[in-house]
């Protein structure tokens, strides 16, 4: 206030006598604008040659003239290749097998390319392990076309990043590396699991002295790796085959999510579909409601402390080795039951755990060993996590102590993902030379001296050993878009090796290939070599009585179990987890993933603190649905180890009391578009890279607006949406009892709604040609969301952004609804609804039913256009834009639609989506359709819809038409399984089966005749071509 500093805006102001300054001080404009002279003089206005009416006439005329002139078609240029590559035919897709290995997601995939640009990721059916692309892998093709990617190597200077050439980078870095003077040079990398990269780093170590290689996983599995090493002498992760297990007991292992790199869905789902009256039994103990817990037959909420105690108790029940009983009564019963089931199943059972504790992991390994679980593959451990949290912690302290001379960082972003990222950044400043190998200008990259810009995996070469003996190859599917060079290529250069990296892999693979040719391996993308059973396993087989011995011979598991049983909880326990959409946050700039609703909470564009209802009441945290139907929540302050984070709260049914959850991977700021900078960074709470922390939570001011796409939490007893039964009833009772077809009355006679007697319409004849049906098995569907993203990619579904999602204007053609049951079972809901007496009671009881209980049952249901044979939407369209095809598909002609939205109102399934805005080429929606790079992902066979039209699932008409055309051209009959939709092809768990029901031998025709088959809202009489298979739970009670 009292400062007499002079502030100035232009140099002119410093000149005391400036007339301009003088004038400007008086007036806003240098020259006076003659508004008064013009508007004030009424007479001259009236006599003016251009009256207001004339003005309007001119405007009208010029608009009409302009629109008439616009009728002239634009001149379109067609530019063919000068020399057309042999294998590229414009208009025909090519497929290449490759592998994603970004340190978090590892999968063998097929890439569909059109005119040389990758447009879609598909599952590689030749792969025997990790052949299933999850939602993030499906979305990774869009990350290739991310316009926030760096376009060339850079040098960071005081004033900012400067573009340099690779030659300059090589020269400057080499000079600095040689001048280290014996100081330590550290290579900090992601888990590459690449045999050739390991070889390369060894060679690099030989060239420069004092080189250390530290592997760092953003989401750590250090404890599990250590435990496996203690038990089996190899630093790897235990591999499980859930298809071989009839009983699965999981203690906080989210194996349908990202646990140990994921990829267990298909094996798990195989055992979940009842066959010959049998299906696997899945018991799950956890704190946060995870995807796996939601799929379990019995889910037991247990805080992290309780989880450890549960493991100890399980161990004592199964092996008999004593551990004191510290469990509370309800858990005690659950554990006893679980132990009994395991004992009964014997070697057909498996126990897995995600508890981040060496003792816990040892106990799990010991239990599986003790029961000699068939599902546990000792011979082929997983190699896709190799990080060492201790080594990383050591590195940070070394850096700050000035011991580290050089640092090469590849594929990781420790400044963002380390809890002590600030310390890491400070340490970086003390390192003489630091180079970040990165695609983005992320927190770490901008803190390093140089950024050696790397290509996307779809532009790179590579090899991965997914698990022992299972190899997978990575090959480029497009020429590098930018001036990039992959990490390995640079290492080769710096070791003075002039060979190209692909040749290097080829040479390194001579031992791996065996009898297979390199071209064949590259074509298949995968190579599996038989692995001899490890010595330990052979011992166990040869000496059946030695099982106790092997347990004792290794590390002291008994002591570990005892340690586990005595842990004490310390206030609220926070479990940090990864969400299906973003994982560890590498693809945070991917709008498809940001907009993908979380399978459990159905919220998109956010992470949040999940709190149990009891704790929320105690802390006065609230969730409420507001007038426009959106969800709002309070903010809470979470303090861990002195670090505080303020996060919005979602009250999560099924969250164990005394525990809270928060997702990692959000809250990133650097290298991201503004729209994508959502959520809070939970990595700051990830102390010692341990997911479980004791935290204190308190309410803070403010209301957070969520973009949540499902407003109703529970089914409210509308049992005909999701039909479910128990295995016992399924096996013993008649189908009409648990899967009844609704009946209607006509002339006082009850008819089934499917009967022609009660049909309003004449049936079309669909017996000729193809008649497509899609079957969705609610037992096999895990809710993973891969289909949602696959549909996005195949059908050019636009991204609308957080505020539009909040207004329920999301454009997903395929959604996965999640329902809770407020009773212990969905059946309980139905009974309660049926027993409601009178209006007063119904008001209160419906209100109650909308409140999911402490531990609800969960069911997932993918819903897309049901392609009704008697479609309500078709009859109300005033312009016949939506019509029916003989092949069972409900067609939508966008160019005919005038946007009345009658159809959406008349659709009982609410699957039609209206284009409120022009989402492509519109900078208001700065996602991927507004820039040339992002538009490269668009599928040229599907129309990009414009503003004002209705759109919906087409049952991938372009794919079925393509299959038919291919068969016609070859002059052959179409085999079952050839017809696919994007969602059915992406579904690795086999929940979605698509095909032609006129082919009586097809899988889908048989599913249609099956006992479990039902249609959504059958009583409406729409006769959909999408069917669902009743969910069967393997529970005896209820």
């Amino acid at each position: 206030m009292s400062s007499n500093k002079k502030y100035w805006k232009s140099v002119e102001e410093l000149n005391e006598d400036s007339s301009i300054v003088e004038t400007l001080q008086q007036n806003e404009f240098v020259q006076e604008i003659p508004t008064d002279a013009f508007l004030g003089d009424k007479a001259s206005l009236e006599n003016s040659s251009t009256s207001r009416r004339d003005f309007l006439k001119y405007v009208g005329f010029s608009t009409a003239a302009a629109s008439l002139a616009a009728c002239e078609g634009p001149v379109v240029k067609s530019i063919p290749y000068v020399v057309q590559p042999e294998r590229i035919v414009p208009g025909v897709a090519n497929y290449y097998a490759t592998t994603i290995a970004d340190g978090f997601d590892f999968a063998s995939v097929l890439i569909k390319t059109r005119e040389g640009r990758p447009i879609k990721v598909e599952n590689n059916n030749l792969a025997t392990s990790n052949g299933e692309a999850n939602a993030r892998v499906h979305a990774s093709v869009l990350s290739l076309y991310d316009n926030a990617r760096l376009q060339g190597p850079k040098r960071n200077e005081e004033s900012g990043a400067v573009d340099i050439s690779w030659d300059v980078l090589d020269k400057e870095v080499a000079a600095k590396l040689n001048a280290l003077g014996g100081k330590e040079l550290v290579i900090l990398t992601q888990t590459f699991a690449s045999p050739s990269t390991t070889k390369l780093i060894t060679e690099f170590k030989a060239k420069y002295q004092n080189v250390k290689h530290v592997v760092y996983d953003a989401v750590s599995y250090t404890e599990a790796l250590d435990a496996y090493q203690m038990m089996y002498g190899e630093r790897a992760l235990a591999d499980y085959d859930f298809s071989k297990a009839t009983t699965i007991v999981s203690v906080a292992a989210d194996f349908l999510g990202d646990w140990q790199g994921g990829g267990y869905d298909s094996a798990y789902a195989q055992g979940r579909v009842p066959k010959n009256g049998k299906m696997s039994k899945h018991i799950h103990f956890e704190a946060n409601m995870s995807l796996t817990g939601a799929n379990a037959d019995t889910r037991v909420p247990a805080t992290p402390t309780q989880q450890k105690q549960v493991l100890a108790a399980l161990y004592s029940y199964i092996t008999g080795a004593g551990a004191k009983n510290t469990l509370e009564a309800s858990l005690q019963v659950a554990v006893e039951k679980a132990a009994k089931t395991i004992k009964k199943a014997g070697s057909n059972a498996v126990v897995v755990s995600g508890v981040q504790d060496v003792d816990a992991q040892l106990v799990v390994l010991a239990i599986n060993k003790a029961i000699r679980s068939k599902a546990f593959n000792e011979a082929t451990p997983r190699k896709i996590r190799q990080g060492n949290a201790k080594a990383v912690a050591q590195l940070v302290s070394d850096m700050n102590a000035g011991k580290v001379g050089g640092l090469l960082i590849a594929g990781v972003d420790p400044v963002y993902t380390l809890p002590n990222g600030v310390a890491f950044r400070e340490g970086l400043a003390k390192v003489a030379i630091s180079v970040a190998f990165s695609m983005h200008a992320n927190d770490t990259a901008i803190a390093c001296d140089y950024i050696a810009t790397t290509p996307h995996y779809l532009e790179s070469w590579g090899d991965v050993e997914l698990k022992k003996g299972s190899y997978s190859l990575m090959q480029p599917t497009i020429r590098p878009l930018f001036d990039t060079r992959q990490f390995q290529e640079t290492l080769l250069k710096w070791t003075g090796n002039s060979i190209a990296y692909n040749d290097y892999i080829k040479n390194a693979w001579t031992g791996v290939l065996g009898g297979t040719s390199w071209s064949q391996a590259l074509h298949d993308g995968v190579l599996v070599k038989p692995v001899l059973a490890s010595a330990a396993l052979e011992n166990a087989i040869n000496t059946p009585e030695g099982e106790q011995e092997t347990v004792v011979a290794g590390p002291n598991v008994g002591a570990a179990a005892r340690r586990l049983s005595t842990v004490k909880s310390n206030g609220l326990e926070l479990t940090l987890y990864t969400k299906t959409a973003l994982g560890d946050g590498q693809q945070a700039n991917n709008p498809w993933l940001q907009e993908m609703p979380d399978p459990i909470t159905r919220a998109s564009w956010d992470n949040y603190l999940t709190v149990s209802k009891a704790d929320a009441a105690e802390l006065r945290l609230e969730n409420e649905n507001v007038a426009n139907g959106a969800l709002n929540g309070s903010y809470a302050k979470v303090v861990v180890n002195g670090v505080e984070v303020i996060a919005p709260v979602i009250i999560q049914p099924g969250q164990a009391k005394g525990s809270v959850g928060l997702a990692l991977g959000y809250g990133k700021k650097e290298g991201l578009k503004e729209e994508m900078q959502v959520g809070v960074n939970a990595y700051t709470l990830y102390v010692n890279q341990n997911a479980v922390q004791s935290a204190s939570v308190s309410k803070v001011e403010g209301v957070h607006e969520f973009a949540c796409v499902q407003l109703h939490n529970t089914l409210m007893g509308r049992g005909d949406i999701i039909k479910e039964t128990t295995l016992e009833i399924f096996n013993t009772k008649d189908k009409h009892e648990w899967n009844a077809i609704p009946e209607v009355s006509k002339n006082h006679i009850e008819y089934e709604v499917t009967s022609p007697e009660v049909d309003l319409w004449d049936e079309f004849d669909r017996s000729v040609g193809h008649h497509f049906n899609l079957s969705i098995d609610l037992n096999a569907c895990t809710g993973c969301g891969a289909c949602v993203i696959a549909c996005h990619a195949e059908n050019n579904v636009p991204v609308v952004g957080k505020s539009e999602v909040r207004r329920s204007r999301d454009m997903h053609w395929l959604r996965i609804d999640r329902y809770y049951s407020s009773q212990d079972t969905f059946e309980g809901d139905n009974d309660k609804k049926d027993n409601i007496a009178g209006l007063r009671s119904s008001l209160s009881e419906f209100g109650e039913m909308e409140k999911p209980s402490e531990n609800p049952q969960v069911a997932f249901q993918p819903v897309m256009c049901q392609h009704c044979n008697h479609a309500p939407c078709e009859t109300v369209c005033p312009v016949a834009a939506t019509s029916h095809g003989r092949q069972g598909q409900n067609h939508m002609a966008y160019n005919r639609c005038v946007g009345t939205r009658y159809c959406a109102n008349n659709c009982p399934y609410k699957v039609r989506r209206f284009n409120w805005f022009l989402y492509n080429d519109n900078d208001e929606f700065d996602y991927h359709m507004n820039n040339d790079l992002g538009r490269m992902v668009i599928n040229p066979d599907v129309t990009v819809r414009s503003r004002g039209v209705m759109e919906k699932c087409s049952m991938c008409m372009q794919m079925t038409q393509k299959t038919i055309l291919d068969a016609k051209r070859d002059g052959r009959v179409i085999k079952d399984g050839e017809f696919q939709t994007a969602c059915s092809a992406a579904c690795s768990s086999g929940a979605m089966t698509f095909g032609d029901i006129n082919d009586k031998e097809s899988k889908v025709a048989k599913l249609k005749e099956g006992d479990r088959m039902y249609h959504l809202l059958e009583h409406v009489g729409t006769k959909p071509n999408v069917m669902y298979q009743t969910k069967v739970r393997n529970t005896t009670e209820a």
Binding site: V76, P80, P90, S767, N895, R969
Partner: protein, 432 residues
Amino acid sequence: MKQVKYRNSASKLLFLGTVFLFSLFQPTFGQADAATTSGGDVAKGEALFKSLCASCHKRYKRSTGPALFGVTERHSTEWIYSWVKNSAAMIAAGDAEAIAIWEEYKKTPMNAFPQLNNADIDNILAYVMVPKAAPPKSAGATAQATSTGGGSSMSTNLILSALVLVFAMLVVVLFLVNKTLKNFAAANDIALPEAETRKPIWKAFIENQFLVLVTAILVLLASGYFVYGFFMQVGIDQGYQPIQPIHYSHRIHAGDNKIECKYCHSSARVSKHSGIPSLNVCMNCHKSIAEVAETTATEDYSKEFYDGEIQKLYKAVGWDESTQSYTGETSPVKWVRIHNLPDFAYFNHSQHVSVAGVQCQKCHGPVEEMEIMYQHAPLTMGWCINCHRETNVKVEGNAYYEKIHEELSKKYGVDKLTAAQMGGLECGKCHY
């Protein structure tokens, strides 16, 4: 219409020109005869040259191998005999001349022709030693033709303008005469008979309400018709004939030379796009066709014009004619797209070309007659639908159709099925 008018005079001129040219060619033939006497038969040599040598050699221009005119001056006849019979052996034997040529032509080996005897080779040499004909006078002839043609049109214009002048003078004269006569009448006080004033016809028309009504309706109907017609043609580019960056004549390629459409538009067999051929496809032939034949030239387009267009191709693809090699400097050709379907309509060429066996001309018109390509069909939805209603599906010998054909023909009670009966009118088949 205009062109037809002049065709007569032009053809006459051409005839005269040809006669003139023949007289010029006379001495050339004389020369050729002289060559025959000196060593071989030019006619036989020509036949042999065309069957064996022409794929790599030209007489006056370098091709894969050297130009052969003057070869006997560069090498001895004996050397040529042994070179033609087995060049590889000569190179292997270390013949200096042979190695020099081999090196010059990037070590491209020449096929051995042991089947040729010395007499045959003499015949070929006789043919290749025929000197290049003097530059054809056709250019001059055309120039003459155009100038005469221009003259004739000029004379017509002259006559017309003279006529106009005469009429104008007549009008002026009549007006003057009339005026003078009136002046005379006034001067002589002769009363001119006054014209009877009748009600003007337009006034009568306006007073007749019925007529006004009828006319108004007619005018409205007529304008409605034209407005409708105008709006219905918006976005329809039938007859669209843009100027392309390279004057590519379908008439020469598909018409005169009878090249199969799908040789160049090969992706029409397998893809939704017919594909504009990449330039390497052009070079399959144009590597050895650097200029068009005399007979290709028409009165509208001269040989020089066509040769210039081929040069444009060479420039775009980066072909150096003198060294017969690619320079690597390419500049893709930006063709103007003629057939534009809207983005929301899906059309697949292979469905129509490979499966249905539809002739390209059915939609694209007489392409083999088009000097400049234009859009033949309106490409409207009604046009598509009509064809789908009328065209029978080619089901014979296609296992895919067996079952569906049997069932559908039973259902409709017909033997042949149209595309419409197969479901070819459903919206979703083309719009997704």
